[in-house]
């Protein structure tokens, strides 16, 4: 794109109107840029966590509360949800609408399971005495993973809305509209990757 003269008759992607100097759909570019800002957002939260690591004055400390086996399961669930996302997008591109609906719902469902694990974990930590205001570990852990959880929840809501929309306005969810699912998929994969980073830096690093 940089420095090239746009080719004559570059097909204006279906979602936009008028001439385009890029073949990348507007919404997809927008999502990539948003994700770039979200990288900085999570990077700052993760950075804060790492800076404050080991600086808690009182416990509970990470080794006292983190449950690696449990969180490994929830991480696996989230990873699988990304896999389902790929399948859902493929289905929509093929025009397999029932498949697209099923797998998209599956992504949301797995995401909800992940959230369920998170809720359980948070409550368990609180029972063990780790709260937001207990120590720096509590503060940074809950804010970081809580923010991630909110991102997951928004994604779940978004995907469920897509499934519902595909029933309410089926003419708008055909193969030609796959970009809109792809954009949601990009968001979902990003949220998953952020979790991999969090899981590694918050959970695994202390135990390996």
């Amino acid at each position: 794109m940089a420095g090239q003269a746009p080719s004559v008759g570059a097909p204006a992607p279906a979602q936009s109107h008028g001439w385009r100097s890029s073949t990348l759909p507007d919404t997809k570019l927008l999502m990539w840029i948003f994700l770039a800002s979200d990288v900085m957002f999570f990077g700052t939260l993760i950075g804060t966590y790492l800076i404050y690591k080991g600086r808690s004055i009182v416990g509970p400390y990470p080794l006292d509360v983190l449950d690696i086996p449990l969180t490994t399961v929830s991480t696996f669930v989230l990873l699988m949800s990304s896999f389902l996302m790929v399948i859902a997008l493929h289905a929509l591109r093929q025009g397999n609408i029932p498949g697209f609906r099923l797998w998209t719902f599956g992504v949301a469902f797995f995401g909800a399971i992940f959230l369920g694990f998170q809720v359980y974990e948070f409550r368990h930590f609180v029972e063990l005495g780790l709260t937001l205001d207990r120590n720096l570990f509590g503060t940074t852990f809950f804010v970081l993973t809580g923010t991630h959880g909110v991102h997951v929840a928004i994604g779940v809501l978004w995907l469920l809305s897509i499934v519902v929309a595909s029933y309410v306005r089926p003419q708008h969810w055909q193969a030609k509209d796959a970009t809109y699912l792809e954009v949601a998929g990009l968001y979902w994969h990003f949220v998953d990757i952020v979790w991999i980073v969090i899981f590694t830096l918050v959970y695994l690093v202390d135990f390996i």
Partner: protein, 634 residues
């Protein structure tokens, strides 16, 4: 994120808001998605905030005119300088650049609007309401008072009870959302909506600077958002991010703030550089000297802008190695800036310079920005900075670059583009007279402040002792505010008069070089009757004077009807305003721990988002060339 699709917008689902179609009246302004109207809203709103910040500054200067005065209490004084800084940076200067970007980027690249018109409107309303939110603090218990960079732990609940700091944290959080989405919008627009033939290297420099600025915003604002969020959490839920007794590190706030804060000043100045890079070539009647170098230096400055942040922290005890590193990067960032100055001079060299008002402001910019840049290099030396930091020397420095630099550049832009935006011409003589008051007053205010700082006057003190040698500098500085004030009033009156009864302006009163001048003044709703085609850099100049340019003949696009079926224009919408308003009210909910209200507003946000999505892209087609066919329906 769009879930709905291009539709006609004329069949809303039951219970959702209709898309309004009027073009006059308040509703048309609340629902507008037209980048030109939004640009004007940005400019008018930021000028209003500029006026408020000037009043705050005026009171500050009155208080400091003589030693040991007590016009205002220390508490009020702290609020005044905090709000002055916050307003100038977040609510006046940066949005002024955004306003110009909004209005002129589509015109300069030959597009008809931004890529996401409703998102654009949302960006404006959330800025305006975020600013309003912060200003209601004056009536709701007191404005924030910890300085515009609000260092921890001065902002903790125990050190700063009351709501002032919450207004700061929540207000900027809200406003920052707007900045971020507008930056995203501009990037997509610039990448994807350039006219046929307009390669990246044929874009006007102003557009390039906006592109770099938008990327800076994408990467710089999130750390601020996180830092604000952390303090809000500390103050609302008792988290320990900046609580020293729990091991919290106040220096973390400084790092996060300045990782945002330094790029922020480049976010402010790069659009200003872009304006100057349009004005100087136009009024020298020559192309910009060294176009690729100007772009490269802009990108380099943007990039380096992320590598210098700790020069705001030289006195915090980072150690000699860190100080050396940031000192060197801060020196290096001066080099591309110097190159730009040379290129502007090179543009004027060999030209036929016209001293119209925009050019006069641009020249003043050059003068004052060089001075500000020089003091910046001085401050980049940690040992000297150890003396000058947090004194009036720094205050003088940043006013020279932000005021003498950005503000004067944007005034050049305002005069340059006023005829285009309003279709009226202003009086050059009145404008020049007001310039002299403004310029002389400005220098009277800020040049002495260098010396006040060197003589030992710290920042943010509401008074100072006699006998330290500070009196003369402060007195002259305050006297300057009257001169500059006269200039400001004259400028405003000049614009108002021109708007009401100025001579009609031509399409291209300056014989300029870029595409916005190829359409009428003001442009029609759809910007261009025919899709412009770029055959060279300075696309409009190349059209007017094909012999002078190395244009291609545009044959690649011959015969293509770009607007077959009519020009598609976006439809108005209530959702951007509604969503912003819900966030605004929700801010008060969070402020007062009124969780039902916050949650209710959250639900309105969610509902508005769904409404926005289901409303779809919408829009209507315009047929400027067919007989009298304009309006809705398709």
């Amino acid at each position: 994120m769009a879930i709905g699709r291009q539709g006609t917008g004329s069949s809303p689902a039951a219970g959702l808001l209709q898309r309004p179609q009027g073009t006059s009246g308040i509703a048309s302004w609340l629902t507008t998605v037209d980048h030109k109207r939004l640009g004007i809203l940005y400019i008018l709103t930021s000028m209003t905030f500029l006026g408020l910040a000037s009043v705050e500054a005026f009171i500050i200067r009155l208080q400091l005119a003589a030693p040991n005065q007590q016009l205002v209490s220390p508490d009020v004084y702290n609020q005044l300088f905090t709000m002055h800084g916050l307003t100038m940076v977040f609510l006046a200067i940066m949005p002024l650049g955004t306003g110009f970007a909004n209005y002129f980027v589509p015109l300069m690249i030959g597009a008809r609007d931004l890529a996401f018109p409703r998102l654009n409107a949302f960006g404006y309303w959330i800025y305006a309401l975020g600013g309003l939110f912060v200003y209601t603090s004056f009536f709701l218990g007191g404005a924030p008072d910890a300085g515009w960079f609000a260092y921890a732990p001065l902002t903790s609940l125990s050190n700063n009870p009351g709501n002032g700091i919450d207004f700061y944290m929540i207000g900027l959080f809200i406003g920052g959302i707007g900045t971020l989405v507008t930056a995203m919008n501009l990037i997509v627009t610039i990448f994807s909506m350039r006219a046929p033939g307009m390669t990246m290297m044929r874009m006007p420099v102003f557009v390039w600077m906006i592109l770099v600025t938008a990327f800076l915003i994408i990467f710089a604002f999130p750390p601020l958002t996180v830092a604000l969020f952390q303090v809000i959490m500390d103050r609302t839920f008792g988290t320990l991010f900046y609580v020293p007794s729990a091991g919290g590190l106040p220096i973390l706030w400084q790092h996060l703030f300045w990782i945002f804060g330094h790029p922020e000043v480049y976010i402010i100045i790069l659009p200003a550089f872009g304006v100057i890079s349009e004005v100087i070539p136009t009024f020298s009647r020559k192309p910009l000297f060294g176009y690729p170098v100007m772009i490269l230096s802009g990108i380099f400055i943007g990039f380096m802008g992320f590598a210098v942040w700790s020069h705001h922290m030289f006195t915090t005890g980072l150690g000699p190695v860190a100080n050396t590193a940031f000192s060197l990067t801060s020196f290096v960032i001066g080099i591309p800036t110097g190159v730009k100055i040379f290129n502007w001079l090179g543009t004027m060299w060999g030209g036929a310079i016209r001293f119209a008002t925009p050019m006069v402001y641009a020249l003043a910019f050059l003068f004052m920005f060089v001075i500000g840049g020089i003091t910046g290099i001085m401050l980049a030396m940690p040992p000297f900075d150890a003396q000058a930091n947090s004194t009036y020397f720094v205050v003088a420095h940043f006013h020279y670059v932000m005021g003498g630099g950005a503000l004067f550049a944007f005034l050049a832009g305002l005069y340059y583009w006023f005829p285009k935006m309003t279709g009226k011409m202003f009086s050059d003589r009145w404008a020049l007279a007001s310039f002299w008051f403004f310029f002389i007053g400005f220098n009277m205010i800020f040049m002495p402040q260098h010396f006040a700082g060197l003589m030992g006057m710290p920042r943010r003190i509401q008074t100072y002792d006699a006998g330290l040698g500070l009196e003369i500098w402060n007195l002259v500085s305050t006297a300057g505010t009257f001169v500059m004030g006269v200039g400001m009033i004259m400028i405003v009156l000049g614009f108002v008069h021109a708007f009401r009864s100025g001579e009609p302006a031509e399409d291209d009163p300056w014989d300029a070089r870029t595409l916005e001048w190829s359409t009428s003044s003001p442009p029609p709703h759809h910007n261009f009757d025919e899709q412009p085609i770029a055959t060279d850099r300075d696309a409009w100049w190349a059209k007017k004077y094909p012999d002078l340019a190395h244009a291609d003949d545009g044959s690649a696009y011959e015969g293509i009807d770009f607007d077959a079926g009519g020009i598609h224009m976006p439809g108005q919408s209530w959702y951007p305003f509604l969503l912003s308003f819900a966030v605004f009210i929700g801010g008060y909910g969070v402020m007062y721990d009124n969780w039902p209200l916050a949650i209710l507003m959250g639900l309105v946000v969610v509902a508005s988002t769904y409404g926005w999505a289901f409303e779809g892209v919408g829009g209507h087609h315009v047929h400027p060339r067919s007989s009298a066919q304009e309006g809705a329906g398709d």
